[in-house]
């Protein structure tokens, strides 16, 4: 299967592991991810104000490029996925945004939100299938207690993201189970880590602490994430505490496929 792939700025710099393990795993699973040419930073946060058009343009360029190739657009970073998916929804249903974006971009053909955006996890669940993935596992992560950390951006708002049940998701737990590990559900797995608040407030991050303590309380050994910012905030809060480690989901995938 051939897909357009959007990496995003952080995956080329501070979060190279998230991308590296995803790409080698995709090869093993027979997924062809073609990195888009001339992709631009998505802006990291979805512009919430109705009149903010410029912040949505880079996402539309990627969406239109994938659509013109007739390919689904695959994302890896939770933030990029959030931005691109929500902008796509605007292009589909918001006449005000659609008209202004198309007037500005002057693409060969107007873009109207037709592309399909899938996060890598959705690709594994919906196009590959977790049962097929489980058959490919060479080194099952048997006995490892892993806690999924969803955070905000993949799940909410659920009417647009359509990723999983926003209050009680299971896609990451199903993924962990497919890799042969034990998925531990802990109360704070869908809570926010503080996100960009780290630039506004450098004091103790009680939001990240709540997540970590909640996971440690249920003897989670590894917390799984798809977001470089969540990983950063959680690791910063963790400091020298080695009770739990924060891991990208792709790293565990590559490990289970015996290609790490």
């Amino acid at each position: 299967m051939m897909y357009s792939y959007y990496p995003g700025c952080t995956l080329k710099t501070k979060a190279q592991d998230l991308e590296r393990f995803a790409l080698i795993s995709a090869q093993v699973l027979g997924i062809e991810l073609a990195e888009q040419q001339d992709w631009q930073c998505c802006g990291a946060v979805y512009p919430l104000a109705e009149d903010e058009i410029a912040g949505k343009l880079s996402a539309v360029r990627s969406l239109a490029a994938a659509h013109s190739k007739g390919e689904k657009l695959i994302t890896l970073c939770a933030a990029c996925h959030h931005v691109i998916k929500r902008v796509n929804a605007d292009m589909y249903s918001n006449e005000f945004v659609r008209k202004r974006v198309n007037n500005y971009l002057q693409l060969p053909k107007n873009y109207n939100g037709e592309a399909k955006v899938l996060h890598y996890l959705e690709l594994l669940r919906d196009d590959v299938g977790f049962s097929k993935l489980a058959e490919q596992v060479r080194m099952p992560l048997t006995g490892r207690k892993i806690g999924a950390y969803y955070g905000c951006l993949l799940l909410r708002p659920s009417n647009v993201m359509n990723f999983d049940d926003a209050e009680n998701p299971s896609i990451l737990e199903d993924f962990i189970t497919a890799l042969g590990a034990t998925a531990v559900k802990y109360p704070f797995r869908t809570e926010c880590c503080g996100g960009y608040l780290t630039v506004n407030d450098q004091e103790a991050n009680e939001m990240a602490a709540n997540i970590i303590n909640s996971a440690i309380g249920l003897e989670v050994e590894e917390i799984l994430t798809a977001c470089p910012l969540c990983k950063y905030n959680l690791e910063k809060e963790l400091g020298t505490n080695t009770k739990v480690r924060i891991v990208y989901f792709t790293e565990l995938l590559a490990e289970a496929l015996a290609i790490k």
């Binding site: 912040g55 905000c152 503080g194 960009y196 780290t198 990983k231």
Partner: protein
């Protein structure tokens, strides 16, 4: 609920601007407080999300402009997700922030602030989102 005075003529233009760029109908709020109950950043807020909406309904935008709450909203969308009246509270708070930082010199996070917070592990995503949220 905090006791407030109704001051309809105060800051009407700013209130109208917030309504416009958020696209949110604040009159739909029934003060059920689900937004505040679910907000993970509420410990950092002096005015809770449902109180922000109440103050907007009563035209008291000045109190909100001076609160630390609007800068401590992480746009995690829990409030938006859970509102039984489908009010997009995250959008509303963003509109309040923008009403302030779109004024000249009112950016909350500036390039000069970067050296003070950056470290080796900080992902680019932090700075990009920081500038998008706190700077114009």
């Amino acid at each position: 609920m905090i006791r407030v005075k109704i001051t309809p003529n105060n800051k009407q233009s700013q209130l109208q601007y917030i309504r416009e760029i958020s696209g949110v109908n604040i009159n739909k709020c029934i003060q059920c407080t689900k937004c505040s109950a679910g907000c993970p950043a509420s410990a950092r807020m002096d005015i809770l999300p449902h109180e922000i909406i109440r103050l907007l309904q009563l035209g008291q935008v000045e109190k909100i402009f001076h609160s630390k709450s609007i800068w401590n909203c992480a746009s995690c969308f829990v409030c938006t997700e859970r509102c039984p009246r489908n009010i997009d509270i995250a959008r509303l708070i963003e509109a309040i922030r923008l009403t302030i930082i779109r004024q000249p010199g009112k950016s909350k996070f500036k390039p000069d602030d970067v050296p003070g917070i950056i470290d080796d592990k900080m992902p680019q995503q932090v700075l990009v989102s920081g500038f998008r949220k706190y700077n114009r």
